[in-house]
Homo-oligomer: 286 residues x 2
């Protein structure tokens, strides 16, 4: 068995799905859940996602050999500072945060000697749904999990977290921290920001009720991510600010070019852009 | 039977689905397809979507009591000018274009005396897929079809087109032309423009292959509409330019505000905006 006692801090969509998958793969002797929402934790026990729960963070991690932090990015620093003094010497800590430079900076500040046993991670899986009720045993099957180890990262700790994710059916990929943050800003954080922004613009229009009444399937798909947890995405946008603002600037330049082309009836330019975009989507996304 | 001979100009997703639905509802004695792509028309006959086809437009509409124009917006004016001299006196003409002011302007210019028998229409249904192969008998079931009649529109012609769409399972809604164009610019044309623009931005990044490789389900949904037909959306963006540029300006203002809030770490402002957007999407789109 890979893990004797796993403590999952934040038993939501990601934490809950990880617990389910590791139980099914018989990789954990015991799974302890921790969080602030007791109702959610009780539900997690009822659903057999975790074996038991503990609301006190310092107690929850005692005796754990692996601790998974699956809380919004904005609360990771505090989590590190509370658990650091009580972790077992060889306990491995990992996280699932959607931005990595900020988490690593927090780890350097708050994990002390435990930094070598911290493995920064990010499973590329999710949904606009939240809470343990949304968790699924197969959420990570055939999905990618990015690990961004530090120079200091202990090899055994890294290998254990690799095996942990592989046991859920995921493919583990190693990536440099800054590269991760840039790629994810483009592919995930910017789309969320645009979807929130568009829905908010439309909600402020005087024809609001009409606008939404006549929305078709394309709009539904396009804005699905705007139904995601505001706290989680608030944290991500602020935590990955630099990379996000950089890709946002590129996007704004392209959007201004396209706007101008439409305003000037520049038919070939509009056509070329739409053709390029369709070709890229057909090729890469499928 | 509602229609003796229906001519569908453009037997693609929309034209093909309408033909299928009217056949199933037994509302047409004969359906003639017309288009430039002979392969697609032959497929439409094989699939029994249409009874026969005719590639010559002027011949295709002869003897038709209803003519449905389901071609890209940019070719509607030419279509009007070719069919006007050969239409039966009482033949009803309707279209399915995604913008209406431009189509009505074309109709006023090219339909002559036939203007009173033109009923501008727009079924709010679609997909990123194209061609008769993508057509479905139930595409319009429980979907809305917007009709934007003119002061000159003949009541019987309007009633026939109403019944035609109702026979497909759709709900018919009447709307003023300018209002239609404004609502659809917000809810359909702008999202398509943003999706094309985002995919194009990402496709130009040096980390292109990585960016798309690590795209998750949210990105897939968000950019699905960027796989739509470039010609169709090129035509829509230029045809509905004024309304589109207006809502684009509102969107840009909101996006700039949000960008500034992120740059300045204005946490409450980011949080409020995401919360407002999620609430609007949860309430209106569901």
């Amino acid at each position: 068995m890979l893990i004797q006692r796993l403590t999952v801090i934040g038993v939501g969509l990601i934490g809950g799905s990880l617990a389910r998958a590791l139980k099914q793969a018989n990789q954990c002797a015991e799974i302890v859940g921790c969080g602030r929402n007791v109702e959610n934790l009780e539900q997690a026990v009822e659903l057999k996602v975790i074996d038991r729960y503990e609301t006190n963070l310092a107690i929850a991690v005692q005796g754990a050999d692996v601790v998974v932090i699956a809380v919004p990015l904005g609360t990771i620093a505090k989590t590190f500072s509370v658990i650091q003094p009580v972790l077992q010497p060889q306990a491995i800590v990992t996280d699932v945060g959607s931005a990595k430079a900020c988490v690593v900076a927090d780890a350097r500040q708050y994990l002390g000697d435990h930094l070598s046993h911290f493995v920064p991670g990010h499973p590329i899986a999710g949904s606009e749904k939240t809470g343990v009720i949304a968790s699924k045993v197969d959420l990570f099957v055939k999905r990618r999990v990015i690990l961004t180890p530090l120079a200091e990262t202990n090899q055994n700790a890294y290998a254990t977290i690799c095996k942990m994710w592989q046991a859920t059916g995921a493919e583990v990929v190693e990536m440099a921290i800054a590269h991760h943050d840039k790629v994810l800003a483009a592919t995930s954080h910017l789309p969320h920001l645009l979807a929130y922004s568009l829905v908010d613009t439309l909600a402020q229009m005087e024809t609001k009720s009409e606008v939404f009444r006549f929305a078709a399937g394309g709009f539904r798909d396009f804005t699905r991510i705007a139904a995601s947890d505001p706290q989680m995405w608030h944290d991500i946008c602020l935590a990955n600010k630099d990379a996000l603002l950089e890709v946002l600037q590129l996007f704004n330049q392209d959007l201004q070019q396209l706007t101008q082309a439409i305003a000037e009836n520049d038919s070939p330019m509009v056509m070329d852009m739409f053709k390029r975009a369709k070709a890229a989507r057909d090729k890469f996304v499928g």
